[in-house]
Symmetry: C2
Subunit: 166 residues, 2 copies
């Protein structure tokens, strides 16, 4: 199952940390790549690539100019996360276990995108965070998590921190 996340309308000044958090969530919860549209942001890409280098991969981040060709060429179902959609608990069983493109918005999502998506899904019909919505959806999809060739790894502790280098 290939899972790609598409982040719309990135703005360097306003969204840098939020998009970075989105990318790290995508990686941590077992999806393969994040594509973002909006402003190309090499600094943000490099900070994500740096995490992948140290904590393990594979994981891809890339910028695309336009979201339309991505949706048009996608072989699989398209999920759009929006607070206006059907609540996840009411549709999670209908989500097929196949290639998925998961879209998270930027400031203004074009209305066409609601039509082109197979599922418009809300993680609660309340305003909160695309980072949170993405994390909860990916967590509930229970994807396999593999982090190959990490340079560092955490040994979970009840108190304090333990990091080991490989």
């Amino acid at each position: 199952m290939k899972i790609t996340v598409l982040r719309l309308g990135h703005r360097i000044f306003r969204d840098q940390r939020l998009t970075t958090h989105c990318a790290l969530v995508v990686r941590t919860f077992g999806a393969n790549e994040i594509i973002y549209t909006g402003e190309k942001d090499s600094e943000m890409e490099n900070s994500v690539k740096d995490v992948v280098k140290r904590w393990g991969g594979p994981f891809k981040i890339k910028h695309e100019k336009s979201w339309k060709p991505i949706l048009k060429n996608w072989k699989g179902k398209i999920i759009h996360l929006t607070m206006y959609g059907i609540n996840l608990d009411d549709c999670i069983k209908k989500i097929p276990k196949e290639n998925l493109l998961i879209i998270i918005g930027g400031e203004k999502v074009p209305s066409e995108l609601y039509q082109l998506s197979d599922f418009n899904i809300a993680i609660e019909n309340q305003p909160h965070s695309e980072v949170a919505a993405l994390a909860i959806l990916l967590d509930k999809l229970k994807l396999k998590k593999k982090f190959k060739n990490p340079k560092i790894k955490i040994i979970p502790q009840k108190k304090g921190k333990k990091l080991v280098s490989k």
Copy 2:
């Protein structure tokens, strides 16, 4: 069950949107309030209060100068969310259904805080996002969600948006 979230070390320039997202996540997933330390940020507080006014409450956001008295005076268990901790799946059954203070970090978390917390919990032992970690924990605690006196409400849609005013 009273759930308060404590966000450490807010910095106006760097963290404004992330802390806002944290606050909205806390509200959406049924906790009662967020307290933050670091820089007092009235603009951020007002944006959260504005959401509460339109989408329903009750919900509190407040600033405190120091985290230590908050922990010292807390009547209940203290959970610190950290990627270095015990994975949530390995300890969720031990979390008591009573008053909880849930702490999420800022840039540098003092080592004392790991000692003062009853549970240091990781949502995956990988770097990602405090917004995501908070959302997943609160979602799994299955708190009651009540939004009293909302001015607007979403009617979930398969395609498009439907908002009703009350």
